[in-house]
Amino acid sequence: MRIADILTLTPAGLYCAAGDFYIDPVRKVARAVITHGHSDHARRGHEAVLATAETLDVMAIRYGEKFAGSRQAARLGETIALGDARVTLQPAGHILGSAQIVIEVSGGRVVVSGDYKRARDPTCPAFEPVPCDIFITEATFGLPIFRHPPAELEVAKLLRSLALFPERAHFIDAYSLGKAQRLIALLREATYHDPIVVDPATERLCAVYEAHHVALGALRPLSGQAANSLAGKIVIAPPSARADLFAEVENGPITGFASGWMRTRKRAQQGGGELPLIISDHADWDELTATAREVAQGELWITHGEEAALMHWAASNGIKARPLAIKGYGDEENAEP
């Protein structure tokens, strides 16, 4: 079998014929290997699902226990035989439980990164580079203008604002799976130990993190809180949660959106509130290109995102690249704030 035929692109997503499984399929399939729990990658209703225990737990919390016919947990680094394919999950550094899928078929090796990042994240193990014949990368932030600053500096910005405006709640919109927990963990590292108020969806997912030994400190549910009691507190919740709460209050909240999209002024002004924070769980341009150089020994395939610039970069650097333009990925991070 040619290495380029180990995975084929079908309407349901990337398919491995040798192992008869799909990776992050966007339609219901018989056998799915899932990179991570974000809803654009982990969908309900597959007959059999293979993923890390953390990802399976996330899916169960979001979709209910019957999210798939059957499930199999894979440990990171453990190799599992699926038909004629050998499948190994390796850390992707994106969120808790996120994994790259390493597929080996008759001497050829393909790695599907899923979403990934190289920046430090206290809530999940670091991305593990695996040299391969074909590296299948995301490109959410695949333009050279996207160079994420250290998340620690953005967290310091939040804490400085809290010190300067102690009478106002700080409402941060941070995606409920991954971003919220990373932000909380970084706040704890910065020696912020006050209770952090979270909306119900975030709270449920924080419990999954705690169950997998990621300590997040004291959390308080947002439901039942009066606006006045939130003064000087950090609240992690979507914008919809604050609309009614502060309708009649003198000191409204300071709002912020934690996202890599906050890098450009236009986006920050459109959706960043008073405190846009450039914090992303995706690789930035430097990480995308450095990783491609490091691991892609044959070809670079690009699943979704800003692929035009990355295609051009690959061509200028003698790396053979191919855009896959998989429909249905990227919706979660790109959702309206």
């Binding site: 050279p144 405006f165 920050a268 610039a309 309206e336």
Partner: protein
């Protein structure tokens, strides 16, 4: 510069009362003479000798891949910000310059020394600092503070360091073909349309204009059915929809493919009955420019 830029970032997104407190905090932690200079900048009292944006573009051209620059500019839609974000970080750069160093150097350094100095500063600043530096040095800085009541001029020098070709404002309208469409992040954000005119048998982009949600139904419908390729939020569409575009300012811009910069453009009508061949040419637009 980085600290002042961080203040600007926060002021840009703050409400009135927040602005006062952010500024007070900055002033309390900033030594003279930067403190006075910062206030003068925010009060629009200080206008240092300006350098041309073209000079900074030429510094950038030497460092950037032109295709990556073009794709980035298309996304960011602002030359100063694109350069600020693209500028590669230097591991062993000097510390970033203080506001007073920048203002002093702009007024004292000669034409031959200045580009090198600006390059050193760009290396030393972070992304926000580079943005603020480019905006201040090219006279494009708009204060995020409400204008104070003392219009006292503290201008160090008013004249341009490098003469630009000043031209009177030209307004008019033209029929152009829709090339790219960029949807805003929010439902209420405008949709940005890039349009082009004919030049030697091909359509060349000449400008960009926003349409607000109320007026864009027709364009949205067209984009849904005619998208050829997507680059993130940008859709490339079939070159078949003709738009009537009004503009308030036209200038020669030799570095652009079209040779012309169109400012304050807006889409006044969607001309569904017209065919792309009916759209104007670059030569037609050039005739609206004053003679050199």
């Amino acid at each position: 510069m980085n600290r002042f830029a961080a203040l600007l970032d926060r002021l840009e997104n703050a409400d009135g009362e927040m602005k006062q407190r952010l500024l007070a905090d900055y002033l309390a932690t900033t030594p003279e003479p930067d403190r006075t200079i910062a206030v003068d900048f925010l009060a629009a009292r200080l206008k240092p000798r300006r350098i041309a944006l073209a000079l900074i573009r030429s510094l950038a051209d030497a460092r950037f891949d032109p295709v990556l620059y073009a794709l980035s500019l298309d996304y960011v839609d602002d030359v100063a910000e694109t350069i600020a974000l693209l500028w590669p970080p230097q591991r062993r750069a000097n510390r970033d310059p203080s506001l007073s160093e920048v203002v002093e150097a702009l007024s004292t350094l000669g034409r031959s020394e200045l580009p090198k100095r600006i390059e050193t500063w760009l290396d030393a600043c972070d992304a926000s600092g580079r943005w603020a530096l480019i905006k201040l040095a090219t006279g494009r800085f708009k204060s995020p503070m409400p204008s104070p009541d003392r219009p006292q001029k503290l201008a160090i020098a008013q004249d341009d360091m490098f003469p630009t070709t000043a031209s009177p404002q030209i307004s008019g309208s033209i029929d152009a073909v829709l090339l790219y469409v960029e949807r805003g992040k929010l439902k209420a954000s405008p949709t940005f349309c890039t349009f082009g005119l004919w030049k030697g048998g091909a359509l060349v982009p000449v400008g960009k204009a926003g349409i607000l949600p109320d007026d864009r139904k027709c364009v949205d419908e067209f984009v849904r059915e005619n998208t050829i390729k997507r680059f993130g939020p940008v859709s490339q569409v079939a070159q078949t929809l003709v738009l009537e575009v009004a503009f308030e300012d036209l200038k020669r811009a030799p570095r652009r493919k079209s040779g012309i910069a169109m400012r304050t453009a807006r889409i006044t009508r969607v001309l569904r009955e017209k065919r792309p061949g009916d759209a104007s040419t670059i030569e037609g637009l050039e005739r609206l420019l004053p003679a050199r």
